[in-house]
């Protein structure tokens, strides 16, 4: 049985916020008991390495990020480390609909896949279970990531707490794999892909508009809002 879509939701787009500002906004969605479904599409400035709540990173990673001007911040969600450097990031928060982990991913995957389809990209939910937290999040496919012919294109993570949920994820526009490998200090093969490889000439605005159109197509028109920090 397909999980039912939200009937009401709010949309905001924020550009060029720092890692800590972005994570504060996402956490606010998780903690605001009065809020309904909120979708935020956002970008990061400066680039940031977001690290899953239980993932371990060593001092070498932190030092290399500092040298490169990359902010390091913890997420409240699980998973590994993700470099945010020109990617389109989405977050969805709201009252916990009581679905299983995979069904909640399915609920949110549909608008993401619809948005990618509008750019001519045919993506599907990829399900490959794994049994440890890989640091290079995009080097592995797990849970319900979204991929194109077996290559991950949207990586997401989720947390559920006190009757609410937060899911957020990253759609890389350009190829961040070389810088990711340099910052994490390894050279593991990474089978992920990025949007500009599939849609030549695509920029952040076009990608963000497509994701927003995907949410609108699946969930109906949103209420537009600007979330305030603090």
């Amino acid at each position: 049985m397909k999980p039912a879509n939200p009937t009401e939701w709010e949309l905001s787009t924020t550009r060029s916020l720092s890692g800590s500002e972005n994570m504060a906004l996402d956490s606010a969605g998780l903690e605001d008991n009065d809020a309904g479904y909120r979708v935020r599409i956002y970008s990061w400035s400066p680039p940031a390495l977001s690290v899953g709540i239980h993932a371990r990173i060593d001092q070498g990673v932190i030092d290399r990020c500092r040298t490169r001007g990359v902010e390091v911040i913890r997420r409240s969600t699980g998973g590994g480390a993700v470099l945010h450097d020109g990617d389109v990031t989405y977050s969805v928060s709201g009252p916990d609909p009581g679905l299983s982990t995979l069904d909640l991913y399915a609920l949110i995957s549909r608008p993401l896949i619809a948005g990618l389809r509008m750019l001519g990209v045919t993506a599907t939910v990829e399900r490959h279970p794994f049994t440890a937290i890989p640091l290079a999040c995009f080097a592995q496919q797990s849970g319900a990531d979204i991929g194109v012919r077996g290559r991950k294109i949207v990586g997401s993570a989720q947390v559920r707490r006190n009757g609410r949920f937060l899911q957020h994820g990253s759609l890389p526009v350009s190829d961040s794999r070389p810088l990711t490998r340099e910052l994490l200090g390894h050279s593991d093969e990474d089978k992920s892909t990025y949007l500009a490889r599939l849609v030549p000439g695509i920029a952040w605005d076009g990608a963000a508009e497509a994701l927003i159109a995907g949410f609108s197509a699946e969930w109906g028109s949103p209420k537009l809002s600007t979330f305030a920090l603090g």
Partner: protein, 133 residues
């Protein structure tokens, strides 16, 4: 059909509780581990930590999701399952045995009796399934 041992007690947040002497052992149910998917990390309290009924005592990170584990009773943590913490897959493989999470010395021993029985939990699961369809 998930496994619901008769001798245990249960919560609406899908924890189970078992009385062992003057302690109450706690874990998450077969239903919960199935819903979560592969468990990859357990965040458990320290021994001697205080826990409160209905409040989180730790977290479970499963395949790409993090969820709270709620304490069924108030009291003090007597023991923590370090084996499961080092091998979180035990929560999936043996949720009622090797996947136990903490043992609590309850401040009110009779609080255990107020928890749901296996029959009540089974009804609760059926009613939850009915609501989401």
């Amino acid at each position: 059909m998930s496994n619901i041992p008769e001798e245990l007690r249960y919560t609406r947040e899908h924890e189970w509780a078992r009385r062992e002497g003057d302690k109450i052992v706690v874990g998450i149910t077969d239903f919960a581990q199935d819903q979560l998917g592969d468990v990859v990390y357990l965040s458990l309290p320290e021994v001697a930590a205080s826990v409160e009924a209905g409040k989180p005592l730790g977290e479970v990170e499963s395949t790409k999701s993090v969820s709270d584990v709620y304490s069924p009773v108030s009291g003090t943590v007597a023991e923590v399952n370090l084996t499961a913490r080092d091998d979180p897959a035990m929560v999936n493989q043996d949720p009622y045995g090797g996947g136990w999470m903490v043992s609590i010395k309850p401040s009110e021993p009779s609080a255990f009796d107020a928890l749901m029985t296996a029959a009540e939990y089974s009804e609760f699961l059926k009613s939850e399934a009915g609501e989401s369809h």
